[in-house]
């Protein structure tokens, strides 16, 4: 006997009546502006009349990304402490309002809005994954506030409300390819985690390879967090490529390099160029599995300069001798200084004044002088290829002739014309 869930007619009528009543209530709520009409951005509530100025630090302290993002937060705190010790910005002490992004894009959006609208911060420092940045972007644009984003990323973005202090693709991936081509690599195998950065990076690599006569023998994506690399490594091994370009993220690197070493592949035979492995990650992978492999960044702890010596020493004094410094940390450290320098130049904390005065603002950073590009809000940075040595640190084996101007949409590269439609 089939079931007939019998709702009494009376009940249905009552539900509908309730629905109608509620819909009516909603309808009476006033409606705002329609599409296309300009809305006035919410009035900024930033208050700089006192002795302090508030900024936000928004990083993941819980969840999967906390591994990386807590180190960025340490660097932000260090920079703020240094600036305050030197007299603050415009004579005002910087006060940090800290928030946890919890490794979730929605939380980043929520907390960014809280920092802007409830805490009235002058600028926010933080974010790591592209997903978190994409989630925060509308919040910063709609509320006309500022985000300083410290991580290398896939490019193809330029918001007036975001300053990108990490590398874009032409400051990291393209130099890495130039280096490989210089060393005689004629074929590549691409391995990456399945998300936006590796896919965009590999699109760029494919275009570059087609133009430079390099053969791409394979392209594989592993699910984020995957630890099963047997198949991929078998395919890499069977391909006989000259080098591997690795855009894997997080724990996957551990499993990948162990498998790679265990099937007997060596850096001499088939080097791996990684763009997500910095000083922090080497320990977990195990030196014996990764020694001699390559990485592409703008900064290593071993960069020789007085600024870096001071930075590394200050960091170790503050957080302990066993800690290492890495590229994203350094970029976060720079971001605070760049913001402060822009404020000093503009003589104002107002967003419009900072945007107007940002072009050409520079900072003698641990990686060398970095300069803000006023058009796309990225910074000019020196590209460096590093080799992982037995002490777990990365050492520069090649660097670009001076800082490379940021080109997030790769407009200066003919072979990249097919990749994107610029805005």
């Amino acid at each position: 006997m089939p079931l007939r869930p019998k709702l009494e007619a009376r009940d249905i009528a009552r539900t509908l009546a309730a629905t109608a009543a509620i819909t009516g209530l909603i309808a009476t709520a006033a409606c705002g502006s329609r599409a296309g009409e300009e809305t006035v951005a919410a009035e900024s509530c930033v208050d700089t009349s006192g002795d302090t100025v508030k900024v936000g630090a928004l990083n993941s302290l819980s969840g999967t990304m906390s591994i990386s993002e807590t180190t960025v937060r340490d660097a932000i705190y260090l920079a703020v402490a240094e600036i305050n010790a030197a007299g603050g910005v415009q004579g005002k002490e910087i006060e940090i309002v800290a928030e946890d992004g919890a490794s979730e894009p929605t939380v980043f959006a929520e907390k960014a809005e809280k920092l802007i609208r409830e805490d009235c911060v002058a600028a926010v420092f933080g974010g790591w994954t592209s997903a978190s940045r994409k989630a925060m972007l509308p919040v910063f644009e709609d509320n006309d506030s500022l985000l300083y984003y410290p991580v290398q990323y896939e490019g193809l973005e330029a918001s007036p409300n975001i300053f990108y202090t990490g590398a874009t693709t032409n400051q990291q991936i393209i130099p890495a390819l130039d280096y490989l081509a210089e060393t005689g690599v004629e074929s590549l195998y691409l391995v990456g985690s399945d998300y936006v950065f590796p896919r965009t990076a590999n699109a760029i690599i494919n275009a570059y390879a087609a133009d430079h006569g390099i053969e791409v023998l394979g392209e594989d994506y592993a699910q984020l967090g995957s630890v099963e690399f047997s198949t991929i490594v078998n395919q890499v091994s069977a391909s006989g490529a000259d080098a591997v370009f690795n855009t894997l993220n997080g724990d996957s690197n551990v499993a990948f390099f162990r498998e790679y070493a265990n099937v007997g592949l060596t850096p001499e035979e088939m080097p791996v160029m990684s763009v997500s492995i910095a000083e922090e990650e080497v320990g977990g992978i195990g030196i014996e599995n990764i020694e001699g492999q390559l990485a592409a960044w703008n900064y290593y702890q071993t960069v020789e300069s007085p600024e870096n010596a001071a930075f590394v020493e200050a960091f170790k004094t503050e957080y302990g001798d066993e800690r290492v410094t890495s590229d994203p940390m350094e970029a976060a450290y720079n971001s605070v200084y760049l913001w402060a320098a822009t404020v000093e130049k503009a003589g104002s904390f107002a967003v419009a004044d900072i945007q107007a005065n940002a072009d050409g603002v520079s900072f003698a950073s641990p990686e060398g002088t970095v300069v803000i590009n006023g058009d796309n809000h990225h910074v000019a940075k020196t590209a460096r290829i590093g080799e992982i040595r037995s002490d777990g640190l990365l050492y520069t084996v090649w660097e670009s002739d001076g800082p490379i101007e940021p080109d997030p949409f790769l407009e200066g590269y003919d072979w990249a014309a097919e990749l994107t439609v610029t805005e």
């Binding site: 709702l7 009940d11 909603i26 705002g32 979730e104 894009p105 929605t106 592209s130 509308p138």
Partner: protein, 357 residues
Amino acid sequence: MKFFSTRAGTWTGFAAAALVLFGLAPLVLSGFRLGLLAQFLCYAIVAVGIGLAWGRGGMLTLGQGVFFGMGAYLMAMHLKMADAEFRGGPGAVPDFMELAGIRELPGYWVPFTSPVFTIAAILLLPTGFAVLLGFAVFKRRVKGAYFAILSQALAGAFAILLIGQQTLGGFNGLSRFRYFFGFNLADPVNQQMLYFIAAGALLVVMAVALQLRRSRYGELLVAVRDGEERVRFLGYDAANIKVVAYAAAALFASIAGAIFVPVVGIISPASIGIIPSIMFILGVAIGGRASLAGPVIGALAVAWAQTALSEQFPSAWTYAQGLLFIAVIALLPGGIASVGALARRLPSKPTAVEAAA
């Protein structure tokens, strides 16, 4: 407690809830906090569905993220299309596709230009999927733990599948919505309107759930939960009964997802995988799975606690989450809703709730 199960009590409860949601909250909360509440209300709508399927029907739906995600992505696709059309005229591709180098609009996006189609899809697609899956699973009498694990794996597989879809924004998901059915989302007045929609949807969903519970069907559902074989011996097809509750829960989750998108401004696979799906359960368990208001209150309380606590003590919040799960499920299976009954030393129908497990 007893009062609220009478007819007058129900109406009083609804009226009070409406008064708080429509009258009090907009008065005392800032625009930002109101937006946050709207987000929590979306979780509460999901919770009502879980309360129905799990609390009344005994099906532990660990994969509600799938239906939530379906509703959210369907809505997000429409908002992106509307946005693209507004900026570039008909046939323009959404901005994130331009950046990913996709020039041709994928065919399956085209119908989402139409608001009517989108709303129909939000209401029908997840529900239809739940009906199909429900029949496949329940007809073969896959139940209990098997069903829970399957629905969990479904959430995992769905998230992985979405991450691989570049035409759906991949890992980053879809974000940057400017207009909601022609209304500018940057305008605070329109943001308040969204809150009212969320609040209204919650009340409607609760009213529907109440009717289902009070009808003959509701009796059957509880009967299936407490003794599926016996219901079958009486000549009913238990699978049909379960499918209805499962589909209703899916529909509610889809509606919640659709409202969530304009409120929060982003949907990505991170919000719909295995862990978020289990987190939907937490609020329901704490509030009291078998009652009507319990899941709603629980979901709101958990979301609020997460926001408030994680600001100061990020690591403590993880402990608190874990301990809440342990304490509530092991010691207080009826949730907060059963506290009153316990306090008055009345039996809180332990058999019914425990059998629901």
